[in-house]
């Protein structure tokens, strides 16, 4: 496996790992979960934590999990990437918010497919972490 291919593989693993950590933390809206920092840093980590804090404040938890199918859309520099853009069309149909006290759905609005772009960068220790991501509105991808 080439250096570039290994980098892409690691970047995709970091992307998937970040959402998996977020899914687990979201079950209890654990905004202080140390796991959030395993695959995310910077703006991405802040957004994850603040989103969970907002849910924690409101008394919401998230149940289920999204369906992800990411791919690498760019890598630079090409021969030994340190910054990779991952693009996804995430499906949140079965990953929704509920009131913690009653167990009822927070809203009747359904989830759906969202365009996601994530910036994954190689850290100084050699690991790959998502440094920023953008999740667009429901219906923003096919």
């Amino acid at each position: 496996m080439s250096i570039a291919d290994k980098a892409k593989q690691d970047a995709l693993a970091a992307y998937l790992g970040m959402w998996q950590d977020f899914v687990v933390a979201g079950r209890t809206s654990d905004w202080q979960s140390p796991a959030l920092g395993h695959h995310a840093t910077g703006l991405a980590l802040q957004n994850l934590s603040r989103g969970l804090y907002s849910d924690h404040y409101k008394g919401l938890v998230t149940k289920g999990e999204p369906i992800l199918n990411p791919s690498v859309s760019s890598a630079e520099p090409a021969d030994a990437p340190t910054k990779i853009i991952v693009t996804d069309c995430g499906d949140s149909t079965n990953w929704l918010k509920y009131w913690k006290d009653t167990g009822e759905r927070a809203d009747d609005e359904a989830g759906g497919r969202r365009l996601i772009n994530a910036i994954v960068e190689k850290q100084s220790d050699g690991s790959w972490k998502v440094s920023d991501y953008g999740v667009h509105e429901v219906g923003s991808c096919g």
Binding site: R50, S54, K97, G111, N117
Partner: protein
């Protein structure tokens, strides 16, 4: 035929002035990404692919809006969310607290904070008066939501039961304009006014009397 004033149905038209054109604020979607998406957090990654057919990202200042009613007041004339307030919370940022002194706040838009507009946490430096503020249009909308035109009072002569073929005078009171103001954190003062433009009164089964300015 007898006609009593209790049978009069009244339709009231309004003319409302002020800065009133604005979009209803978008709410967070109700899925796992709802509080972290580009609508709530328009980070640089939201611009990736922009102009290439990707989804448009919110412009600067995007994010959750301030509740302004949007015309839906539940039918009883009350505004359930007249304004949001900042509530200090004990949030700690995972990337380390900001170096400048200040505090984290939730922007809470209902008594229990369980409404779709409540959002945060946001960091507000000490002495900073530049908190995320509503636009002038949103402040104007707040003022509009506080407008309450008094119900017109119908008077008649003869008073009480009316008689067929006996001319009856009907008139209205409370035609004066009303005004309301709203401000945000001591600034962005906006004033909206409303004037009743017409009143239609159903008399009997088929006749409609109308007044207008």
């Amino acid at each position: 035929m007898r006609l009593t004033l209790r049978r009069l149905g009244v339709l009231v038209g309004l003319t409302v002035g002020g800065l009133l054109s604005m979009a209803i604020p978008s709410l967070a979607d109700d899925d796992g990404w709802g509080e972290t998406d580009c609508q709530q957090n328009p980070t640089p990654a939201c611009d990736i692919g922009a102009g290439k057919g990707g989804a448009p990202s919110p412009g600067p200042g995007g994010g959750p809006g301030i509740p302004v009613g949007g015309g839906g007041n539940g039918g009883d004339g009350s505004d359930p969310y007249p304004r949001c307030r900042y509530v200090e919370v004990g949030y700690q940022d995972p990337s380390g607290q900001p170096t400048e002194s200040g505090a984290w706040y939730m922007v809470v838009c209902s008594p229990d904070g369980k409404d779709p507009w409540t959002h945060g946490p946001v960091f507000v430096p000490d002495g900073d008066n530049g908190q995320p503020a509503p636009s002038p249009e949103q402040v104007a909308q707040m003022a509009r939501n506080r407008l309450r035109l008094p119900a017109p009072t119908i008077a008649a002569n003869p008073v009480g039961d009316q008689l067929v073929n006996l001319p009856t005078w009907l008139w209205l009171s409370s035609w004066e304009p009303v005004a309301a103001t709203a401000s945000w954190m001591g600034s962005s003062l906006r004033r909206s006014s409303a004037t009743r433009s017409s009143v239609a009164t159903a008399v009997g089964r088929s006749r409609l009397l109308s007044w207008s300015t």
